[in-house]
Amino acid sequence: MCLAIPARVVEIHADDTATVSLGGVRKQVSMALIEDPAVGEYVIVHVGYALSKLDPAEAERTLALLASLDPTEAAA
């Protein structure tokens, strides 16, 4: 039950990877499971792979909801 955190594609590389921004943190992920990724799109990332695209409105809504969750209070 991992939470799906929207990440924004900021740069696409030649080796089927892309740099995404996950709440301001940049990381390089594989785009092997995504068709025709584009800079500015939102994707869901799981263990180093972009899984699926999200429409921007959905992504913003999910991000706002996740922001309301304070991880320091997450259950142990």
């Binding site: 996950l22 943190v25 263990v47 991880p71 997450a74 259950a75």
Partner: protein, 397 residues
Amino acid sequence: MNARASVEGTLSIQIVVIDATVADVRLRSTRATGMERMLTGRPMDEVLALVPMLFSLCGMAQGIAAVRACESALGMFPSPRQRAARELLILAEMTASHAWQVTMDWPRLLGGQPDPAALLVARRAVAEIPPALYPARDWNRPGGGMLKPNAPALDDALDRLSGTVETLAGTGMMTFDDIGELSRWARSSRTTAARMLARVMTDDMAGFGRSGVPALPDLPDHWFAERLAADPGFSAAPSVDGRPAETGALGRTAGTRLMTSLTSLFGNGLLPRLTARVTDLAALPQRMREAAGRIAAEASDTPSPASTSSDATGSGVGTADTARGRLAHWVALRHGIVTGYRTVAPNEWNFHPRGALARGLIGLPADDDLPARVGLLIAALDPCVPCHVSVEEHAGA
């Protein structure tokens, strides 16, 4: 750490070794289980729209558990046709989850490279099923959405998914009776699934990680409702009357001749667990066809009203099976607003501090092979968040 980046959580597994024996296993999850805080105070319809978006691998099962919980609270009973459509959606997602393990996780554990191209074929087909059933994508509407199956599109997606499953799991899994037949197939086939099972048999790991932790019984929904409603701590550390249980493919496939034979030899060790996953995967095409057949056979129903009652008050629970096991959602509503929301997911059963992983490792010899074997056992239990394993050697008494 950035709040959004850390919210996904991790599972930390600390193995304590004393005198070359695993003396303790300490599990600590930072996986956020703060659903209640996120969803409380929001209108029911908004919560139903949000839940499937919050989960990357099992959004469909989560969304269906959520709508079932709301229906239970509202006293609504979806038609057999709607129930069959939802079952098909859940089974399709389960196929994608099992396919992830076999194409991405198992090759890595065998020293090879993941095969995202094979997974992509399965994920594409799975993604086509919801719009082929519910063109308005309202599959999670209480009472049931506008179900208008597009038979050719559905058939096409199911055909491709069946083809992928055959490629990944082989065609014989459902016909094997015992370890001899399984072993012959595992040694002769070059598929990842076969190589994984062959490795476990060859390296004498068939019973590795076996424990006395029983399978989660097929409990009725009200059992989950009573516990989730009464105990806010049940979500993070669930038990059956104080005892941990294991949920997942092993329980679902129990009773087949092959699994009965394997569990009589190796309990809930690595070979039965991994074989159960391949068996579960191999059975999915037929289960999906049966669900699709029930949708086609049932008379069309009248869709429920588009807007749900704003004075909805009550509580209820909904469950759904995922690849990793049984999932339950409990909701409390007052005048259409969610006043309580709790869930219990397979991860919390299978990675309970005193559960199947911990109990399966304590007492085992801590030799050089231990880290690799622990990696296989974790994969067999399939956590839904990244895992960090550390081994700490302490001096003996």
